[in-house]
């Protein structure tokens, strides 16, 4: 029988971890549970539910900072920022559609723990780049803080970076401070039709090195295009670029962009509303949504050098009939593979061994995630360092043990 523990404040979080330590119990740490199906499938003695730690405690738009309890819904934070003309520039994706879980349930703590980002990653960074300060309870049952509530700070080690993307395996965040930034006044998306993956990679590289200053660049191979009503075309594949900023700037850069990509194919465009909807769908990987036509496939999230993206995509498509979606100008490859016992892990890992980068198995049944390395395996010296770092926070393996790596 797994117990659910729902502390109401940071002191109770500390008590909970101490209770687990004293009783030799392991804890599954969750915000509102939207990403529970990501990670190795493991068993825990109790669930530490942080949804009770909710509320924005400080928001100073002119200082570009916002503090909140870790269980605060992202939606609440984004709405508050929007009311001041601001946003979380890292554009945190919602895993709901991909995992077939509820949408819009994510918390700020979960967004940071998973180091979420979106199409704007290539220009504005990931959650890690906007994480300014934290108070957390370590696996030793001790409350510590790191960072601060100002946007520029190098005092002591940047433990925020370490906690970002640690999937709750180092400490339980209770209070966080993040950077907020102005929302772009307007946006527009320019499309070029009919490029194959390799050509799209080259065009995206040219655009990213130009004055067009695109805030997103994605490529949808032909089979995926039909899943986007707004961009469906008779030309097959679609390569898309987002321009954001003040209107005179967007108009000017549209001219720069069209002059650059015009020679490669027919062009199209999406106005502000359609552009927002399109990039939200890319952000949330909707072509591979659990409820969609590829819903039974296993999904990998692969980060590689943008110039190698098409090569990775081709290998997986040719050898495993994978469907591919490219974001981050080719640097983020979402691959949906037909079900297989090892989820295609050996092919994915061996492909990346040649190209560089890392892969995470995001969607697969628990039985598969129990036997396949979900996160990228590390070379021996690095794995040993990772283990020592984990033990420096959580020597007893109380927090989310086994979620990232077996036995850790």
């Amino acid at each position: 029988m797994v117990e659910d523990l729902k502390p109401r404040d940071s002191a109770e979080v500390e008590q909970t971890v101490r209770w687990a330590l004293a009783g030799n119990k392991s804890l599954e740490v969750v915000g509102r549970g939207g990403k529970r199906a990501i990670g190795r499938a493991a068993q825990w003695d109790a669930t530490l539910d942080l949804s009770g730690l909710s509320g924005v405690t400080l928001y100073e738009p002119e200082e570009l900072v916002l503090s909140a309890q870790a269980g605060t819904p992202l939606a609440e934070i984004e709405a508050l920022a929007a009311a001041s003309g601001q946003q979380l520039a890292f554009e945190p994706m919602d895993y709901g559609p991909l995992l077939g879980a509820a949408t819009a349930v994510g918390t700020i703590g979960g967004a940071l723990s998973a180091n979420l980002s979106g199409p704007r990653r290539i220009k504005a960074g990931a959650a890690r780049d906007h994480f300014l300060g934290v108070s957390a309870v370590s696996g030793r049952g001790e409350t510590f803080k790191s960072g601060g509530r100002v946007v520029k700070n190098v005092t002591g080690y940047d433990l925020c970076k370490l906690l970002a993307g640690s999937w709750g395996t180092l400490a339980v965040m209770t209070d966080v401070t993040i950077k907020t930034l102005p929302r772009a006044e307007t946006e527009q998306t320019i499309l070029v039709f009919g490029l194959d993956d390799a050509a799209a990679g080259k065009v995206m590289a040219a655009v990213m090195g130009s004055f067009a200053d695109a805030s997103a660049a994605a490529h949808l191979p032909a089979p995926l295009v039909t899943r986007f009503a707004d961009v469906a075309s008779t030309h097959g594949a679609v390569t898309a670029f987002r321009l954001e900023g003040v209107a005179p700037s967007v108009i000017h850069r549209k001219g720069v962009l069209e002059a650059l990509i015009g020679p490669f194919g027919a062009l199209g465009e999406l106005g502000e509303a359609a552009s927002r909807a399109f990039w939200r769908a890319i952000r949330d990987v909707e072509p591979f949504a659990a409820a969609g036509p590829g819903g039974e496939r296993y999904v990998w999230r692969i980060s590689t050098a943008p110039s190698r993206g098409a090569e990775v995509g081709r290998a997986l498509a040719e050898r495993a009939q994978a469907e591919i979606l490219y974001d981050w100008a080719g640097g983020l490859v979402w691959a949906a593979l037909p079900p297989a016992d090892d989820a295609g892990a050996s092919l994915v890992r061996s492909t990346l061994a040649a190209t560089g980068g890392h892969a995470t198995l995001i969607r697969a049944p628990a039985a598969v995630r129990a036997v396949v390395d979900v996160f990228q395996p590390e070379p021996a010296a690095l794995a040993a360092l990772t283990k020592r770092v984990r033990e420096s926070f959580d020597p007893s393996g109380v927090l989310n043990a086994g979620r990232m790596w077996a036995g850790l």
Partner: protein, 497 residues
């Protein structure tokens, strides 16, 4: 020296000849420097009030040599202080008398430039400016631009997480580094990140960036390069009070404008700079703001009009927009020369580096004036206004007995004030030895213990750059002990489901 450094290990000093000989076997030729005269240039960094000759200087040329030197020191229990160009303003590269000073200057090559992926792979001894120079022919640049960029190295920038005047819009080092090769004190070599985004496991790259040489030695760095903005224009705006200037900064950001650079100077800094470079700064204002917009010309012109409108609403006394590239550079000339300008009006100055919530600026400046009267020392302020990073320059004369001590006490009071108003001890210069003993002002014993446990994960015996960052050195075994007290069935009051 007012800051106590770790006690010298007499056993190590007694074996100096043997250690030097062993190091010479690893780094042959002139890569090991052991004579007092030749080691003299290494006795200090940018924080020149502190000096200490190292036991020996080693200048390796390959990653394998770095690994062998560190592995040897690890086995033999010898301390190591890494050093880039030695421009640290916080004493981060201050040597230890019983330690190896590991200079990375010979790692000075740019290995690859990859425009398709917009990255450059460089050795850590390459200067910050040299990265930009290597890519500017194609219209690219490396964004972080610390004021010492002509001399400071990328390895040092990674160690200190260096910033610069453009970091509000373009980020500091940690936002612009994608990968590194890191040698651990054990001599093991690990690669973190690469040309791709995000780390595979824990973000150890993010942790190492800004770790001040306490976790490992970087032997290769992959940095992001960006397309240089198409154009830039600046506005030079004077205010009668720092309150008006501060309000203007807040309203610019509140209006959704993130300038490429936004710098403020106070009255004493304005006058010293104007006297020195004749940039045309108004002398009858108490706050001067330089706001630079960069990007396509249409965007820059559009936003600069809005900035000027906001400035007028904030009671600007003067407001000029640059009409040419020469004029823009002239606006910057005074700001960029602010430190040497202050150097002209005082025999010595001490540069501080706190960050405050910007709204607290008028209060902080007022309290600083009171401290200035109390300590009998003048102070001039330059301020990265966009991100709240304050650089008070305390004017003193090291030849007058007691003035250096008073300047240091004044500086410590300023940093305590920064923390008191919600800010931090250092925005970009690092803790080093300079702010080490102030760390408890900002962090509890538990906070510092957790940081030191992370240090233990990298360097169990505390051999890498000891005496920096942490005010008290604890043994890793002691930090690792668990004291768990939670009896019986805990907190029946806790909601369960």
């Amino acid at each position: 020296m007012p800051v106590a450094m770790p006690l010298s290990d007499e056993a190590v000093l007694g074996r100096r000849a043997e250690i030097v000989a062993a190091l010479k076997r690893i780094v042959p030729g002139e890569g090991v420097i052991a004579s007092e005269e030749a080691m003299r240039p290494y006795e200090s960094d940018g924080l020149t009030a502190y000096r200490q000759l190292p036991m020996v200087v080693v200048l390796p040329e390959t990653t394998e040599q770095v690994a062998a030197v560190l592995g040897y020191c690890h086995r033999e229990g010898v301390k190591v202080v890494p050093r880039g160009a030695g421009t640290s303003l916080s004493g981060g590269a201050l040597p230890l008398g019983d330690g190896v000073l590991l200079g990375m200057a010979k790692f000075n090559r740019i290995r690859t430039v990859d425009f398709d992926n917009r990255v450059a792979v460089v050795e850590p001894g390459v200067t910050n400016l040299a990265v930009t120079q290597a890519v500017e022919h194609a219209g690219f640049y490396y964004a972080p631009d610390p004021s010492s960029q002509i001399a400071c190295t990328i390895g040092g920038n990674v160690a200190e997480n260096s910033g610069g005047v453009h970091c509000l819009k373009y980020g500091v080092t940690t936002n612009n580094v994608l990968g590194c090769e890191l040698v651990l004190i054990s001599g093991e070599i690990v690669r973190l990140g690469g040309s791709h985004l995000d780390s595979a496991g824990y973000d150890l790259l993010g942790l190492v960036t800004g770790s001040e040489g306490l976790l490992g030695v970087v032997t290769e760095v992959t940095v992001r390069i960006l397309k240089k903005p198409e154009s830039a224009r600046a506005a030079l705006i004077g205010f009668a009070t720092s309150e008006d200037g501060g309000e203007c900064v807040a309203r610019i950001i509140g209006a959704g404008i993130i300038p490429g650079g936004m710098e403020m100077m106070d009255g004493p800094a304005i006058r010293a700079a104007e006297e020195f470079v004749h940039a045309g700064y108004p002398l009858d204002v108490e706050a001067l703001l330089i706001v630079e917009l960069d990007g396509p010309r249409a965007e820059v012109d559009h936003l600069l009009d809005r900035v000027q409108e906001i400035a007028r609403q904030c009671r600007a006394v003067t407001c000029r927009a640059s009409g040419s590239e020469e004029e823009r550079l002239l606006f910057w000339a005074g700001r960029k020369a602010a430190f040497p300008a202050v150097g002209r009006i005082s025999p010595d100055y001490y540069c501080m580096d706190g960050t405050i919530p910007r709204a607290q600026l008028p209060l902080v400046l007022r309290r600083m004036r009171e401290m200035s009267a109390k300590y009998g020392l003048r102070v001039a302020n330059v301020f990265h206004a966009g991100d709240g990073n304050l650089h008070p320059l305390i004017l003193y004369d090291a030849n007058k007995p007691g003035e250096l001590d008073r300047a240091e006490e004044f500086g410590a009071d300023i940093l305590r004030l920064c923390v008191e108003v919600g800010g931090v001890l250092t925005g970009e210069h690092g803790v080093g030895v300079e702010k080490r003993d102030l760390m408890p002002v900002m962090f509890s014993e538990t906070d510092l213990s957790q940081q030191q446990r992370v240090k233990c994960a990298f360097d169990e015996h505390g051999l890498l750059n000891p005496g920096k960052v942490f005010p008290t050195l604890h043994r890793c075994a002691e930090l690792g002990r668990m004291h768990v007290h939670a009896g019986g069935v805990a907190f029946p009051e806790l909601p369960r489901f």
